[in-house]
């Protein structure tokens, strides 16, 4: 799988779930790619630096979301 294909798969899958929730665990993303977690990680890292995914953290755990989505993102917008 190349990066573009991985990104498309993840973006598609996450967009379908936006009505329910906007944050996902790393393992959810690895499952979308049907890869072992360590194999999936470089694709997911790249999606973050490409600006497609962003992190969200409770401080103790971390989640991923499509950039700019989610109710808290709006609430925390400081501009």
């Amino acid at each position: 799988m190349d990066q573009a294909e991985a990104a498309e798969k993840i973006i598609d899958a996450l967009q379908k779930k936006q009505k329910i929730k906007s944050k996902f665990y790393f393992s959810d993303l690895a499952k979308i790619l049907e890869m072992k977690p360590r194999a999936a990680k470089p694709f997911i890292n790249k999606m973050v630096t490409d600006g497609q995914l962003e992190y969200w953290s409770s401080g103790s755990t971390s989640m991923y979301g499509l950039t700019g989505t989610g109710k808290q993102a709006a609430a925390e917008d400081e501009d």
Partner: protein, 383 residues
């Protein structure tokens, strides 16, 4: 307050970005005497409370003066530490795991001036800036978490109760009269981001009320599935509520399943937990992490609840002081608080420390509970 750019370009965040540098390498920070003698130390001695000497096989000696510090510290205070370190220690200083500050010198005659300097510095309010102590069979600094100064789920403050407790325990910071060292720790909620569960005495903030539900805003502010998933006991479920004649999406909390952890509040600001009467302190005792003589032990709950009594938590500190005295009077040399309690029996511990025993102290949480009940006919009658 004009914005000053560092050179970072928000439009191209990856341009010239440095990442994965890690920490600076430790050895660039070592004082000369440490650099020269690392791995060659033969033995150490505590010359007096707060002053240690380590002797190397090269014949070198390093003298350490340990001063108590607040973990919450301003840059003003750090600069004062720097000033002292530059004056006495060639610009080197270190911090300990328990938030003490260690000043090291390479000759004995440098100890007294350093110590005098440290002990002479006082804050405007009158407290000491750098009390020397915290070694050997005494009480060293209390490790703690954020509390009300910076956390969203604390059930008590951290810096305040620590200040109040250390004032009460101060003589034992400055002396070494106890049977063994005694470690006090504080975590401001049950998530224990400061792991206090293996301390001789642990001060733990604890909530006793399930979260409030701000139904009007809940679905606007929060993603309900995330709030539900955050609950470790599955006490939250989706719910439709009637709000001023309108049906709103929200959640319901099964109150008797809630363990008051605040994880839902982390995910959902419409589920605040803090409550003046509900929140307070649990005291635990008898834990240790060292493998010395007996194996490491968890702390046990010995006081189920004490209300928050800001600003000085007098009941909490009085009970702690009482426990320390009972331990000091009862334990054998080298015996940690938990070893003492086990030797005399916990039923005697409650007598010795004048603590009430209530049903709250009998474990009823999941599997490990059974292992803490008494499965023998051997016990001591209360006096």
């Amino acid at each position: 307050m004009a914005f000053v750019s560092s050179g970072y370009n928000p439009d191209k965040p990856m341009e010239n970005r440095l990442s994965d540098l890690g920490p600076r390498k430790y050895d660039e920070f070592y004082p000369e005497v440490i650099k020269n003698n690392k791995g060659k130390w033969l033995y150490h001695e505590i010359l007096e409370p707060g002053v240690l000497v380590h002797v190397s096989e090269t014949g070198d000696e390093v003298f350490t003066v340990r001063a108590g510090g607040c973990r919450l510290m301003s840059t003003t205070h750090i600069r004062e530490i720097c000033e002292i370190a530059e004056k006495h220690c060639d610009g080197h200083v270190r911090f300990t795991t328990r938030n003490n500050i260690e000043f090291m010198v390479d000759a004995k005659e440098k100890v007294e001036p350093l110590k005098k300097d440290l002990e002479s510095r006082k804050f405007n309010g009158g407290s000491m800036k750098f009390p020397v102590g915290g070694t050997g069979a005494g009480i060293t600094n209390i490790v703690h978490t954020q509390g009300w100064i910076h956390c969203h789920t604390p059930a008590t403050d951290a810096s305040g109760p620590v200040k109040a407790a250390m004032d009460v325990l101060f003589d034992d910071f400055k002396s070494m009269r106890l049977p063994a060292h005694l470690r006090v720790s504080l975590a401001c909620c049950l998530n224990m981001c400061g792991a206090v569960h293996c301390s001789d005495i642990a001060i733990l903030g604890y909530h006793r009320k399930p979260p409030l539900l701000d139904h009007e805003y809940l679905d606007k502010m929060c993603e309900i599935p995330l709030a539900i998933a955050a609950c470790p006991t599955a006490a939250i479920k989706p719910s439709k509520v009637d709000f001023k004649g309108k049906e709103l999406k929200s959640v319901a909390v099964k109150d008797d399943r809630c363990m008051y952890c605040g994880n839902c509040y982390t995910m959902c600001p419409s589920m605040p937990l803090a409550d003046t009467e509900g929140d307070g302190i649990v005291l635990m005792a008898g834990g240790k992490v060292s493998n010395r003589i007996s194996i490491p032990k968890f702390s046990k709950v010995v006081v189920a609840f004490i209300p928050n009594e800001a600003p000085r938590w007098p009941k909490t500190t009085a009970i702690i002081k009482n426990m320390v005295e009972a331990y000091s009077n009862g334990a054998n040399k080298y015996e940690r608080l938990g070893e003492w309690a086990e030797r005399i029996g916990w039923e005697r511990f409650f007598e010795a420390c004048e603590l009430d025993f209530t049903h709250h102290l009998i474990d009823d949480f999941r599997d490990p509970a059974y292992l803490t009940w008494r499965q023998t006919s051997q016990f001591k009658f209360s006096k």
